[in-house]
Assembly symmetry: C2
Amino acid sequence: MSALTGGRIRHTVAFALEHPAGSDEEAAFLAAASELARIDGVEAFEILREVSPKNGFAFGISMEFADADAYTGYNEHPTHVAFVESRWIPEVADFLEIDYAAP
Amino acid sequence: MSALTGGRIRHTVAFALEHPAGSDEEAAFLAAASELARIDGVEAFEILREVSPKNGFAFGISMEFADADAYTGYNEHPTHVAFVESRWIPEVADFLEIDYAAP
């Protein structure tokens, strides 16, 4: 990941899946999610495990954008929209988006 | 920030303050929080603005530890314990800790 300077944005989402831990379905979802890294403007893409016992999330995705326009382009990109419809909505049990910028 | 490999942990907390946005009290809290960067084992320390409209948090802190022992050492460090008691509990209105590790 990079230092967050200027208008740079770090978009993160913590989530839990409908699938059992360690299941083939879980692995397939994470593999599909990793394809989001290929969308134009996505930088510093990471698929992560969430390891704090203080929340109910099991995974996270973190990515960075050079600016708000790049973030909007990602959100509206057909690959992202299709992923949300076909995988995220049916397979994600709970999630929270948190986005960071420089202070 | 660094790539999360091995046992490395990225500890993050999103939070909202009791203080009005732009107040001297807000600035003083963030300045006090920035001193946490000096505790042994803390790496890649960042104070951040939370910019997503999808949650109620206004700020974030992110830091990394080489491993779980370093994270425990931070949590138990007298400087951290004193900060939680004297500043965090009285001045933070809401918060959520999210910790990430490599998948």
